[in-house]
């Protein structure tokens, strides 16, 4: 193997691969990545094909991957047996409100940590870090009692209000990002007589857009896939989210794999679509968030 070829495997796209066995290496590389992707994607394929299989075909041992006869009955069953649209709307509402809260509040706090100098700053930063590491189980029950006392259990408010009080992870993420915003910009605005909030709102926030979008997107996915909190706070079937709806579907109808897989496909579809639309931000955001 030539030096160039070795460098090609460790350093990424920048070095072109040449040499006599270049094409072999290319095939090898593609094979690896396809295999990797396959491992992650294969379960989806099973989920899809099972959803389309006629019931009898589902229980064949040894299992066959592709259906011999295709049917839409499971999708029909899943859609009529569960109030899918209501659950979808509920989930979107909760996720949307959470995102709103995060995007409004977390940057505020991050700004105080990154761009303001004040006496309590370090203490606040430690508080943010500490709460990031706290297992939610510790506070689960007292928080439940608290919401119960004010009569809000059984509503979506316990799921949404915390986002409006700042989420430690996003505060941290945005803070890291804000640190790299040049102070000269802020200084210039101050010289012009702008108030701190004005500076925050009109100058810093627009620059921080990538971090905000990343936070929004992550928050959306977290709220979308949350299970434990809806489980204990939502009692009325009217207000169930997709996660709880799917879970109660299991309880109500037993493990009927056909409709269950169809329901899983339906429940994953919206998330998949959102993902396709915002792909850049997901993947870019992960990198930004973790490294800065």
């Amino acid at each position: 193997m030539t030096t160039a070829e070795i460098q090609g495997t460790t350093l990424g796209e920048r070095v072109p691969v040449g040499g006599r066995f270049g094409w072999l290496m290319t095939i090898y590389r593609y094979a690896l990545v396809i295999l990797l992707a396959l491992v992650f994607v294969f379960p989806f394929v099973v989920m899809l094909t099972t959803a389309f299989k006629v019931s009898d075909e589902i229980f064949t041992a040894p299992p066959e991957l592709f259906p011999r006869s295709w049917t839409l009955e499971h999708f029909y069953n899943a859609l009529t047996q569960i109030p899918f649209w209501r659950f979808l709307i509920n989930t979107v509402v909760i996720a949307g409100l959470s995102v709103l809260g995060t995007v409004l509040v977390s940057p505020l706090v991050a700004y105080s940590l990154a761009k303001l100098r004040w006496r309590g700053r370090n203490l606040l930063f430690i508080m943010v870090l500490a709460t990031m590491m706290l297992p939610p189980q510790v506070t689960l029950i007292p928080i439940y009692m608290m919401w119960n006392k004010v009569g809000l259990t059984g509503t979506i408010l316990p799921l949404v209000i915390p986002a409006f009080l700042g989420t430690p992870f996003f505060i941290f993420l945005i803070r890291q990002f804000l640190l790299s915003v040049p102070d000269e910009l802020i200084e210039a605005a101050k010289v012009d007589g702008a108030s701190e909030f004005r500076i925050y709102w009109s100058i810093v926030l627009p620059i921080a857009r990538p971090a905000l979008i990343t936070s929004a997107v992550f928050q959306f996915v977290w709220a979308w896939t949350d299970f434990l909190y809806p489980l204990i706070y939502l009692n009325d079937e009217e207000s169930y989210t997709l996660s709880i709806g799917l879970y109660s579907f299991l309880g109500q109808h037993g493990v009927q794999w056909g409709p269950l897989m169809a329901a899983c496909v339906l429940f994953t579809l919206p998330a998949f679509l959102i993902f396709l639309m915002f792909q850049r931000y997901f993947i870019g955001g992960i990198a930004t968030g973790a490294l800065k």
Partner: protein, 406 residues
């Protein structure tokens, strides 16, 4: 948005209710699937029979969610069902509405049942259906193997041996005796040997004869095929009472089942039968235990009167008869035991007769049921895995009973 919509809907609903004077209440029930659908018939009947109350039925099979709703400031239902075994514990928590104010006559309900539903002189729940477990068998498979339905545990052991099939590679293809509900089956076997897992209102997991019952299952069903093969076979069981149900598919030849099975088996077109649980001795024939489905109203309901009306309706003799018939459950009223309504349910008589048998054990009220059942479930699982002997597994449960709420 949905909250706003909800508010508008509620307002509109309230307005509509005011205009028509209708109260809407929610009846959340643990039943699901076909049984849930049957229950909806009953609800529709009630709604049609009067125009003051509209009942909305919701299938919600998870008991934890039931509890969560009852403990919330804003509950999700006004009336629901559960089992008599939980009533004492729940009334102790203060989440059950006392029912004395509705003035329902309780003389037609079995004394053994009422004992569980009246706590400290206060009535908290009413029975809607009772259940007991008997030995259901696949006639076709028994005939093929030349086996007659067993009447003693010794005969049962013999029958299991003849009905268990293993292929050349050691994989099980048919089990003589299976468990569609592990805990229910094990408890029934315990009674068959004269044991009791909850004697005199105290948890008694190490009751000698109860242990014997569990040991019986292990020795005769699991051990001969090895736990590994047993569990591999069980992994392939389809969902309960579906097309892939293990009994329907002929994967298990005999099973301890409740009376609701009669309807399912009939609809599945199976050739089946049922006999009283074989006992270790002739006196123990038909030993089984009874559980009671009961109706209750949570304290956090906002529609006490309407819920009470519906409660009176559903426990009234004609409605209860229809309910139990449609779901193929045993009725909660003594007067209905001999009703001709059940004649069209094949083999139902065995369960009906057991209702008043002395060998049918009721469950005294206990505060620790949830925990005890969870621990027993772990113990049974351990036995079926071949990880512990029944004695050891149940002793482990006994060690935990010290911390149960009593």
């Amino acid at each position: 948005m949905s909250t706003a919509l909800g508010v508008v809907m509620m307002f509109g609903g309230a307005l509509g209710a005011y205009a028509q004077d209708k109260t809407e209440i929610t009846f959340s029930y643990l039943w699901g699937g076909a049984e849930g659908a049957a229950l909806e018939q009953i609800i529709a009947d009630f709604n049609a029979s009067q125009d003051k109350i509209v009942v909305k039925g919701v299938s919600s099979p998870d008991m934890t969610k039931q509890l969560a709703s009852m403990s919330s400031a804003k509950g999700a239902f006004d009336i629901s069902d559960n089992f008599a075994s939980n009533i004492a514990s729940w009334s102790n928590q203060g989440i059950l509405l006392p029912l004395d104010e509705f003035g329902i006559d309780t003389s037609d309900f079995p004394e053994s049942v009422m004992k569980q539903l009246v706590v400290d002189g206060v009535l908290y729940s009413l029975p809607i259906a009772t259940h007991n477990f008997q030995l259901v068998y696949n006639k076709k498979l028994l005939d093929e193997a030349g086996v007659t339905p067993p009447t003693t545990t010794a005969e049962l052991a013999e029958a299991i041996k003849k009905l268990t099939k293993v292929d050349a590679e050691g994989n099980v293809t048919q089990l003589g005796l299976g468990l569609t509900d592990i805990s229910a089956g094990m408890k029934t076997l315990g009674y068959a040997f004269g044991g009791d897992w909850n004697r005199d209102g105290k948890p008694t997991p190490t009751d000698a004869n109860f242990v014997k019952g569990v040991q019986f299952y292990y020795d005769n069903v699991v051990a001969p095929v090895t736990p590994a093969a047993y569990n591999k076979f069980v992994a392939g069981f389809g969902p309960y009472m579906s097309d892939q149900d293990s009994f329907k598919q002929g994967k298990i030849a005999m099973v301890f089942e409740g009376e609701w099975r009669a309807k399912f088996n009939a609809e599945a077109g199976m050739d089946w039968g049922v006999v009283p649980v074989p006992g270790e001795t002739p006196e123990l024939l038909g030993s089984t235990w009874a559980d009671v489905s009961t109706m209750f109203i949570p304290t956090n309901t906002g529609n006490k009167e309407a819920a009470g009306e519906f409660l009176k309706y559903i426990v009234s003799p004609p409605v209860m008869e229809k309910f139990s018939h449609v779901l193929a459950n045993l009725p909660g009223r003594i007067s209905l035991a001999g009703s001709a309504a059940y004649d069209d349910l094949p083999n139902f008589k065995v369960w009906l007769d057991a209702m008043n048998s002395p060998n049918t054990h009721g469950l005294p009220p206990a505060l620790y049921m949830a925990e005890y059942n969870a621990d027993l479930a772990s113990a049974f699982d351990s036995v079926l895995q071949g990880a512990q002997t029944p004695e050891a597994a149940l002793q482990a449960v006994a060690d935990r009973t010290g911390s149960y709420s009593q």
